[in-house]
């Protein structure tokens, strides 16, 4: 099960992140998590939001370069070693992680992670077979 991540290209200059967030707010979309990868000249903002398609359309309308990317959102037990356990599964299957960031810690002690892997389909299978809990867009929207 793959989820949709919103990616936005932003130049490193004052107020640019703020403008992106304002656009997302204007279409009443909630941000559940984000990660900002930066280089000396530009940044890549990656977001998990309540309605990725609506946010993407609004950003494009406002002149931003944005796109929807498939990622895996996996729910883990909030306990020592759980991240390592499942990363080991991916390594064994020769899957490379492109990037990863935390999503949220829910009530009941579950933590979620966003993962972009070299082969998302295989990664999803590997994790599912190991009994991992992968979240869908609908489930994410309800977080």
């Amino acid at each position: 099960m793959q989820a949709k991540q919103l990616s936005v290209f932003i130049e490193n200059r004052e107020g640019r992140l703020d403008e992106v967030l304002a656009v997302i707010k204007s279409v009443n979309v909630n941000i559940l998590s984000l990660s900002l990868a930066d280089t000396s000249e530009y940044g890549l903002l990656r977001l998990i939001v309540s309605d990725p398609a609506a946010a993407d359309a609004a950003l494009k309308e406002n002149g931003f370069s944005s796109m929807l990317t498939s990622v895996l959102v996996v729910r883990l037990d909030n306990k020592v070693g759980s991240l390592q356990d499942f990363l080991a599964l991916l390594a064994k299957a020769n899957i490379n992680l492109e990037y990863m960031y935390g999503l949220t810690i829910e009530k009941g002690g579950k933590a979620s992670l966003v993962i972009k892997a070299s082969d998302l389909d295989i990664a999803a299978d590997v994790l599912k077979n190991a009994g991992a809990d992968l979240l869908s867009d609908e489930e994410i929207a309800k977080l």
């Binding site: 130049e11 280089t39 890549l44």
Partner: protein, 432 residues
């Protein structure tokens, strides 16, 4: 010192007579041997015999870079290919380079002109000359090299790209003269200064060219290095470096007028302007065999004075260049047209045609930055994807113009759109 006393100091009357005689021969020769010239003259009903002297020059049609492109590669050569002993090439406005060819006599004539220029800079056969222009298709390296050799100087073919080695040899050989671009010489001066090597060199003269520079830059070079720096001008279409150079009085660049007739025209009306007025420089070659050019529009803006110089030369002088009448940029001595950059960008899949070329000068070296809008079509959510895109663009630009450019990816619609002609270039260098 004057290299060729006879040719450089003859009276204006004698010079005009010589130019007229050579012009008549040249026009006759191109009409007979170059179909493109014949067609141009026929189109306006001009016969070779209508040209009786320099006063008839304005009757002749102009030649432009487009003519060289249309007759690529050898179409404008006036001799059979087997008489051509060398070709050089420079940037065209698009992917195709401008190709020039030389006969054995042309190479001799070129060497003679460079020798005159080097003599104006005070260089003699006793000097050790480092040639630090690019060798290869560019005319700078081999042009200066042959000239220095022709005058009997000890010639060191340095080329460009290894400043440390150049400095080591400058010190070890006791090099006394150098030929390179003025910005490169300033850079060399800074490296020498930083290394505490300024008192370990014997340099005393420089002929700098291939890019426009200012009097301030000349003073800076002269003061830092304690040398005499001279401005050598040329363009590959006409010959290469050595078409003109300034003497020790630095009051304009003496044109080798027995080989090239200069004119100044208005770039808008194309009519000759009055003496001393600013306009576009036009050259007619009157001794070249391989690629004679009739009224070639250089696009360089300058003015001419025919007054006799204090140095004793009677040849006319062109003033420092005030810019270009087209959009050509000279970056690190390399001619670059924005249209070439555009073509290079279009070779990369998905790159939008919106770009901005930013040229600056940092530590006396030209920098080239190209801002390219990241279109959603080729946008990647991974940094390595974007970096790969930058590299691909940089490679394509390098292949096209031979220069390394820094590619800066920017957001869509951030490069200013202008009504009418788009602003593609920001030249931050202060040269004129």
């Amino acid at each position: 010192m004057i290299w060729n006393e006879k040719m450089e100091t003859m009276s204006r009357e004698e010079l005009t007579a010589l130019q007229s005689e050579r012009l008549v021969t040249t026009v006759k020769r191109v009409y007979e041997n170059v179909p493109a010239y014949r067609a141009k003259m026929d189109a306006i009903g001009l016969k070779p015999e209508d040209i009786k002297g320099v006063e008839d020059l304005p009757k002749l049609p102009f030649t432009t870079k487009a003519d060289l492109r249309d007759n690529y590669p050898f179409g404008l050569f006036a001799v059979p290919q087997d008489e051509i002993v060398r070709v050089h090439a420079s940037s065209g406005t698009t992917g195709k380079p401008t190709v020039v060819g030389y006969t054995e006599n042309d190479i001799k004539m070129w060497s003679e002109c460079v020798a005159r220029c080097m003599t104006m800079a005070g260089i003699t056969k006793k000097d050790i000359v480092q040639v630090a222009y690019g060798y290869g298709l560019f005319t700078g390296g081999l042009g200066a090299h042959y000239g220095a050799e022709y005058m009997g100087a000890t010639t060191v073919p340095m080329g460009t790209g290894n400043t440390q080695k150049l400095i080591t040899l400058m010190k070890d050989f006791g090099a006394t003269a150098i030929a390179c671009t003025p910005s490169y010489l300033l850079h060399i001066a800074e490296v020498l200064k930083e290394g505490g090597d300024l008192d370990k060199i014997k340099l005393r003269a420089a002929v700098c060219g291939a890019e426009p520079w200012t009097e301030e830059m000349r003073h800076q070079i002269e003061e830092t290095l304690g040398i005499a720096a001279h401005d050598i001008y040329g363009l590959s279409e006409v010959m290469g470096p050595g078409v003109a150079c300034d003497c020790s009085y630095h009051k304009g660049l003496h044109v080798c007028e027995d080989h090239f007739i200069p004119e100044i025209i208005s770039p808008t009306t194309l009519e000759p302007v009055k003496e001393g007025e600013l306009g576009e420089l036009v050259f007619t070659t009157i001794t070249k065999e391989g690629l004679p050019l009739i009224r070639y529009r250089t696009r360089d803006l300058t003015s001419i004075t025919y007054d006799k110089c204090e140095c004793g030369r009677t040849t006319c002088r062109i003033s420092r260049f005030k810019g270009r009448s087209d959009d050509m940029l000279i970056i690190r001595g390399v001619n670059v047209f924005p249209s070439q950059v555009e073509e290079a960008l279009l070779h990369v899949d998905g790159v939008s045609p919106h770009y901005l070329i930013i040229v600056d000068r940092v530590n006396n070296l030209d920098t080239l930055e190209i801002m390219v809008e990241v279109d959603e079509k080729f946008f990647s959510d991974e940094i390595k994807g974007l970096e790969a895109l930058s590299k691909k663009i940089a490679h394509s630009v390098q292949q096209m113009i031979g220069l390394n450019a820094k590619i800066k990816l920017v957001e869509p619609r951030t490069i200013e759109r202008s009504m009418g002609k788009a602003v593609r270039v920001q030249d931050k260098r202060k040269l004129v």
